[in-house]
Subunit: 341 residues, 2 copies
């Protein structure tokens, strides 16, 4: 049996004023409304004595502002690391005095519509529309014209109507290339993992890698094709090694691929980074656990989530695509190139 909350009426009565006066005082509008200092003090004291907290439902009913936002994702909560995007959104929401609802659509348009309706029925102020993988999306009808920021996804509109926050994958590709070229690597650089055309991260990472290597006057020696999972990478890299391939560098399209590559290289008796350097993307927990620790270009989930909510609740800006830098986590898997001249 928690204590009954005091209402504004009770505060007003205790202070000997009307509800209106109490409301003005507590809203800090006493100057507007010319409330005497004496009355003000009485209201403030009464509110404190009764431990008054306004009923935000009642306030919101009147003001149409709930100070709540909803994060609608496809499967964000399911993914271990993408959960950090939720964490970042949450932190930014709280920093702006808002609370955060979360909801998952499982990628199902019917669930999505139901979920958004439920949020609208509760009068949420704004939405973060998030995707697990970076991709193009259509804004659901119910969200059109409302305050929405896209998290890890984009619309195809020529003139963007919404903010979109995505990781800067092209720059990340450049970073990976720079890590290698600065260590003197120019030859035997193989991409590991299939950069499927429809996978945003793969396409852009590859583009950045190509540009970065080209800028340093070199290029990829080839690609070891595989899915983005340890198993597939292990098989592919093992096969490549057995067929006589002797890479000097593997650029793995994510850390899971790197794990598979590590296992394959170890299995073939090759040392990292003495025989083969490895650089990867994502900087998941795994990267710091591998031996040697893996140099990886970080996917800043937390920042993505934070920035999305910041665009939603911070000072208004022209809608557009915000690309969040992917910082390099330099560790021990990239060695100096041996001069073969």
């Amino acid at each position: 049996m928690p204590p009954q909350r005091a209402t504004l009426l009770q505060v007003a009565q205790r202070a000997g004023v009307s509800r209106s006066t109490a409301s003005f005082v507590l809203a800090g509008r006493h100057l507007d409304m010319r409330i005497s200092e004496d009355a003000r003090q009485r209201v403030l004291r009464a509110a404190q004595e009764l431990d008054y907290r306004p009923n935000l439902m009642a306030r919101s009913l009147r003001t149409k502002v709930t100070r709540t936002i909803a994060l609608v994702s496809d499967t964000l909560a399911s993914d271990p690391y993408a959960g950090r995007a939720i964490h970042g959104s949450l932190a930014a929401a709280v920093a702006h005095g808002h609370l955060l609802f979360i909801g998952e659509t499982e990628g199902d348009p019917l669930i999505e519509e139901k979920l958004i309706s439920d949020f609208l029925d509760r009068q949420v102020d704004a939405f973060v529309y998030a995707s697990m993988f970076t991709r193009y999306v259509r804004i659901p009808k119910l969200l059109r014209g409302r305050p929405v920021v896209l998290l890890n996804c984009l619309t195809r509109a020529a003139k963007p109507a919404y903010h979109a926050v995505i990781p800067d994958e092209v720059a990340a590709g450049w970073s990976a290339a720079r890590v290698l070229t600065e260590a003197g690597h120019r030859d035997g650089i193989y991409l590991t993992g299939t950069p499927a055309r429809h996978v945003f991260a793969g396409r852009e990472r590859l583009a950045g890698i190509r540009e970065g290597l080209a800028a340093a006057g070199t290029k990829l020696a080839g690609t070891i094709e595989c899915d983005w999972w340890p198993d597939s990478a292990y098989d592919a890299v093992s096969r490549a090694l057995r067929s006589g391939l002797r890479p000097r560098v593997l650029i793995c399209l994510n850390d899971r691929v790197a794990l598979g590559a590590y296992q394959a290289l170890r299995g073939a008796g090759l040392d990292i980074p003495e025989d083969v350097s490895v650089v990867s993307f994502d900087d998941s927990e795994l990267a710091a656990w591998l031996r040697p620790q893996l140099t990886s270009i970080s996917l800043p989930h937390y920042q993505l989530g934070w920035q999305a909510v910041e665009l939603l609740l911070g000072p208004a800006q022209e809608p557009g695509v915000v690309r969040i830098p992917m910082p390099v986590r330099q560790r021990a898997s990239v060695g100096k190139a041996i001069d073969v001249a």
Copy 2:
């Protein structure tokens, strides 16, 4: 500019009835209130034509029920896997027609108080109070006497006032022991990882392991002390192997420890499971990625989250501690014991 929502008044006017009548019809209380079938149909049609959806803020103001719950955690959203508990809670909440707020206290009592106040101001119906690590907690003052379920934590109260949902770690210890004894292992079984007394999971897992082994007429040969991280485990196991220890089985207190153990065993030229069998706890993603795949006793985060909300919103039950089974994920890291007789 999203379309203006129709109000109950507009529905009533279009149907040619009063707000009261429209409300009764839409609440399905037409029999109670003796509304003619004709009037009922008119209201229903009007509601459909106007695409009427009730304003839940207004309803909640009156009924004191918001159909929202709050998940208050210390650092749950930060942890990759514990995020699945949020996912489970979310799914259960939605299944009961509720929406879920989340909030993080970072373990700070001041933030916690502020956060809970914010939730109470928004009239949430109930709380899930969650902890990252299983541990004893005190219920915050503001939550006393309200509907609260503890997720992955416990109170010390002799007579429990709240439901608590925790993983059944003792049974998990038994399971680990059973996996080994059924494969014929009796000797050279080493615990890996320090089961600190104040760490619930460690204490209970160890107790279960001891009981399980004893029931099969054997016991632990010793403990390789280390923190619950790959690095520490790698160092400790490497050191133990160098000092001449020849374990037949390592029971790792979690998958990260198992990763370190794998690395150390591999480094010493030992094969898994031919030379050494490994069993572990948590069944994180990692377990399926290691070579050979790791047999691990699963920490069912999703189930924990689901069950907590189920206890909150499902049929009322006597408060008490609910232990969620930790299923065995049998993979390839445990081999048959070689008969040394």
